[in-house]
Every structure is written in C-alpha cells, then in structure tokens.
Amino acid sequence: MQNRPDHPTLLDAIASFLMADVAPKLEADKALQFRVLIAANLATVVAGEARTHDARLNSEGARLATLLGAAVPQSDAELEALNRALATRLKAGELVNDATLEHLLATAKETLEVTNPRFELD
C-alpha cells in the first residue's frame, strides 16, 4: 500500500493550494472565494483529525469504557458502538449526571482543539 505522502500531508497540500493559488484569484467572485476557503478549511480539519485520531480514540474510549463499565474500544466501530450505547441509556434517563457531563465536555474539547483551534473553550 502507498503511504507517502501520507493522508494528512496530502490534505494539507490541497488546503495550501486552495488558499495560496486559487483563493487570491477569485476576488471578483466573493461567493466562490468563500467556498474555496471553506474547502481549504475542511481539508485542514480532516488532516488534523487524521493526525490525532489514535490519541482521541484512546482518550474518548477510555472514558466511555469507565462510564459504561465496558471494554476499552480498539477501533472506530467499537467506539461508535459505545457511543450508541451511551445515547440509548441517556435517552432512557440513565447516566444523566456530572460524570457523563464531564466526559461529554472533554470529548467536545478534544474535538474542537482539532477542528477549530480558535474556538474559545473557557
């Protein structure tokens, strides 16, 4: 399998191209220029998510395992299964407490640090 350049590198290259080479040429079409910036940002976000994926999977997974008394998830699919289990239990009125709130806030923060580093987290 090919892995050089890796995914984050390719995505950063796309973002860089869109910002440096394409966007400046679109002064006459602000609507399109704006969408090019959106596209560049999306590519940057995906690159950041790819780079931090394992750390975030482990972090969120460990917390969920503790909350739910389950095994620590080893994959995205297992993590998703735990999130579905949490959602189901919350919908039924269980686990609506401070421990869950802290977990959800921590997960949101870990996500936002990657997807929007300028978002103020307090």
């Binding site: 079409d29 602000k30 609507a31 704006f34 969408r35 959106i38 596209a39 940002n41 999306l42 976000v45 998703e80 999130n83 579905r84 949490l86 959602a87 919350l90 919908k91 009125g93 609506v96 869950t100 709130l101 959800l104 806030l105 997960t107 949101a108 923060k109 996500t111 936002l112 997807t115 929007n116 978002f119 103020e120 987290l121 307090d122």
Partner: protein
C-alpha cells in the same frame, strides 16, 4: 431578448444576497448545461411576476432575482403605482423547506399581525396564490434598505451608534410582538398542545430521531432540559429566528426585523434567548445579546416595554435549548447535502460544526446559570 438574457444570466451567476442572511445557505450556481433551462424558467417567472403586478394596476420596471444560484424564490421588483415609484420584495414558497418553517400564506398573516402590534417589519402588500408554481403561494412586501449581514451588523464601524440603540429597539420590538396571543388573533397554526417548552423538546426529539447519526451530547442535554421544564409558561406570537442576521440595520438603528418563516405560538423566552445563541454572536463572545450588547440593558428594556419580569433561569433554559436546536439544525443542513438535494459545500461545513453548539449547551449546563 438577447440582451435581456445576458443581463439575466449575469444575475443568476453573480447576484449576491441583499436581503439578509438566513441560516439556510444560498445555493451555488448551476452548471452551464442547465443554464438554458434555468433561463427559460426564469423568463417564465419574470412574466408571471409582471402579470401579477400589472393586475394591481402597476407599471413594471424591473424584476430581479435575489440570492445566488437558481434565485427562484425571492425577487426585488421596481414599479410605478398611482404615479409613484415603488420598490417591493417578493417571497415565494420554495420547492423544499426546512423543518418548522411556515408557508408564505401563513407568513403573510403573521406579519400582518406583527405590523398591527407595532413591530417594525416590511409591510406585506399582496398575497399571490400559486404565483411561480402551482401550489406555491407568494407575497409582495415593502422593501426596506439597510444592512442585515450578521458579521457586518456586529462589526462595521459605521453602525457603532446603531448598535448602541439596538438593545432598546429590539426589546421594544419583542415586547410588542409578544402582545399577540392566540385568543385575540387567530393564525393559521395551533398553539402547542402541551407547553412551549415541552413542545420545543418534542420537536428536537423528532428531529434527532430522523437523523442517522449518534449524538450522546444532545441526548444528555435533552434529558437534562426535560427534568427542568419551566412551569406556567405564557403562549404568545414568537418570531422564532430572532437573531443577528435577521435585523435590518442602518446608521439610525433598527430599520426592520426580517424572516418570519419560523414564527409560531410559543414562550416569549424563546425569542429572548435565541438572540444569545453563541453562533449568532459572530465571534463577539463578550456581547451576549446578538454580538453587540450586554444582557442587562436588553432584559431591562424588555421589562420596561412589556411589563414582564425577566426570569434569568428561564432565559438560561431556553438558551441551552437554542444552542441544542442549532446543533441539531446544523446536522440537518449537512443531510440536505448528503441527500443530493443541495450542492452547497457550506452545508457539510456547518454540519461538522455541530460540536461547537453542543459544547456551548453543555458549558451552559455545567455553569449552572447564564
């Protein structure tokens, strides 16, 4: 005809929104191959609009689509009526609509009620059943100039003085709107069968159940809100999207409130809180009212104008609910793209930002108060 066509095609591909942001992003231009079909439809629409205006005794000068892309649903028209030049907007039912949006026919009645109550909003003029398409009602309304784009309302230096007046003017607007009650002024939709707060949560539940993804943060906040429902709620006419982006502002202050498509019978607190939903502050986190003012002057002005006491705990409840509603709403925007219904890249970008809105709802919950 050729010169009309080229002017029209320039409009379709480049016309910018001039009637304010809505949180439904505008459509991108269609590919060239469809242009002829779009132009043909556009000529047909222009004809229908002109015919309707002529029926009212007007001489039609221009008919111009608003918003980018297909520009099908909103227009600006210039005409002569009774010897006077007049500029109007036209709003039509769209082929697809967002959850909880009302039809133009209902909007017409809501705005008439709001105007009668003294609310500053463009006056509706003529209701036109099936104007652009069979079954799609439209109405003409006053054209009110000004700036509505959120980022600009919050930051433009020329609007500094206007921003200082906005809290008072907006509070007065809401106070007047909230005098309209179901008993006194029937409208073509029903009051909530349960309570405004319960109804809002039921709506959110319904929206969540229609989405394919898993949202534990939303589930948590929904249960948390359900366990703390406000009691003894009033039921009044609520704007439903009362936020920066829907305020037409000039250097003199508030010119008009726009976009009544989410209006309904509900709690006045819903409007009082929506203006503080984080995303509508356009990054002015230090200005919780719309990105341009602090809370106290706005709530005080509302108390003065309405005779109500503002219960901050209820504002807090509805602000959490509002952030949650926008979190779920943003995911819905993404689904419109994923379904193939829309091609606008902004939709999936907005959908990915749901975590920002979820975070804000959770942060407010953890904080324990405003």
């Amino acid at each position: 005809m050729a010169s009309n066509e080229s002017a029209l095609s320039r409009h379709i591909l480049t016309c910018a929104p001039t009637y304010g942001d809505s949180w439904a992003p505008r459509k991108v231009p269609r590919p060239r191959v469809e242009l002829n079909r779009v132009l043909h439809r556009m000529d047909d629409r222009v004809e229908r609009i002109s015919a309707a205006l002529q029926k009212h005794g007007a001489t039609v000068q221009t008919v111009k689509p608003l918003h980018g892309g297909a520009c099908q649903e909103n227009f600006r028209v210039e005409l002569i009526l009774d010897g006077q030049p007049l500029r109007l907007a036209l709003r039509s039912d769209a082929p697809t609509s967002l959850p909880n949006s009302i039809k133009r026919r209902a909007e017409f009645e809501v705005i008439s009620a709001a105007v009668a109550a003294g609310v500053k909003t463009p006056r509706p003029r003529w209701l036109e059943p099936s104007l652009l398409r069979a079954g799609a009602d439209a109405y003409f309304l006053e054209w009110v100039p000004g700036e509505a784009i959120g980022r600009r309302v919050v930051r433009n230096p020329e609007l500094e003085a206007a921003r200082a007046k906005l809290p008072g003017e907006l509070a007065q607007t809401l106070a007047r709107l909230h005098t309209v009650t179901p008993g006194a002024r029937p409208l073509p939709f029903d009051p909530p069968r349960t309570s405004p707060a319960q109804s809002a949560l039921d709506d959110l539940r319904g929206m969540l159940d229609r989405l394919p993804g898993t949202y534990p943060a939303v589930e948590f906040a929904l249960r948390w809100l359900a366990a703390r429902l406000p009691a003894h709620e009033e039921v009044v006419l609520v704007h439903g999207d009362f936020r920066t982006g829907n305020f037409m502002v000039t250097p003199d202050g508030l010119a008009a409130v726009l976009d009544w498509e989410f209006s309904h019978w509900g709690s006045p607190y819903e409007d009082l809180a929506w203006i503080s939903v984080r995303d509508w502050r356009f990054n002015r986190l230090d200005m919780p009212i719309g990105g341009f003012a602090a809370r106290a002057p706005f709530y005080e002005a509302y108390e003065q104008a309405s005779g109500r006491q503002v219960d901050l705990a209820q504002v807090w409840w509805w602000e959490i609910c509002g952030n949650l509603r926008w979190a779920v709403g943003s995911v819905f925007q993404g689904e419109r793209y994923l379904s193939g219904e829309e091609r606008d890249l902004e939709l999936i970008a907005i959908a990915r930002r749901n975590v920002e809105m979820e975070f804000e709802a959770l942060r407010l919950i953890r904080r324990g108060s405003l």
